[in-house]
Amino acid sequence: MTFPTIYSITESEIDLNDLLEKITLPSTGAAAIFTGMVRGVTSRNDPHETVYLEYESYIPMAEAKMKQVAEEIREKWSSIEGIAIVQRIGKLYPKTPTVLIACTAAHRDTGVFEAARYGIDRLKEIVPVWKKEVGPNGEEWIEGDYFPKANE
């Protein structure tokens, strides 16, 4: 049995049902899925409103780095069966899911939650995607604060 790994940058809607089905094997009993969505209203730190986000990606590298994130997950949690990592790009409005990380395993107590959490944290560190925030008073690129090390 080969364990499925799905990774893609897409402009299409993220279909959770479809992705979950693709990473469910006959031996699978549990899935942890993380999705991020565009916030229309942000309270923490600098409170502000968002009209939409415009996502851009260095697509071939981003897909290679998603594959690397999946490989890192498998190295850390050998229990993981299927992995799906999808980043949606383009102009995305509040409440829209923009990113998904899903991990499946036979049981819920062998790392699925931790693996999904690790996956989204790593994606936000090393996968080359950027978002420009467009608000009522103008637009601004959002920058992360992580500097990859050698061999990342």
């Binding site: 851009e56 990606s57 994606l123 080359p128 500097f147």
Partner: protein, 82 residues
């Protein structure tokens, strides 16, 4: 000479005023030397060079890396996906 392609993303793309350019550079140039060259020729990029990520052929690269022939180089700010 080494013909390379440079890609710019996000804020760096805006400052460079272009998504990509083809460039001829001396053989054996390092990333550090390329950054200096770009900072001199494109003053808009100078400030950004302090906190920039650079890749060679889609892998993160650092100051002392030597740029291989026909490399695809990318310059961009820390990522902010998700």
């Amino acid at each position: 000479m080494n013909k390379i392609k440079i890609l710019f993303f996000a804020t760096i793309k805006d400052k460079a005023g272009t998504k990509s350019m083809d460039l001829e550079i001396p053989n054996e140039l390092t990333i550090k030397q390329l950054k200096e060259k770009l900072a001199n020729e494109y003053p808009n990029l100078k400030e950004s060079m302090k906190a920039i990520l650079i890749t060679i052929n889609r892998e993160y690269a650092f100051d002392d890396a030597v740029i291989p022939l026909n490399a695809e180089i990318a310059l961009f700010p820390p990522v902010s996906g998700g």
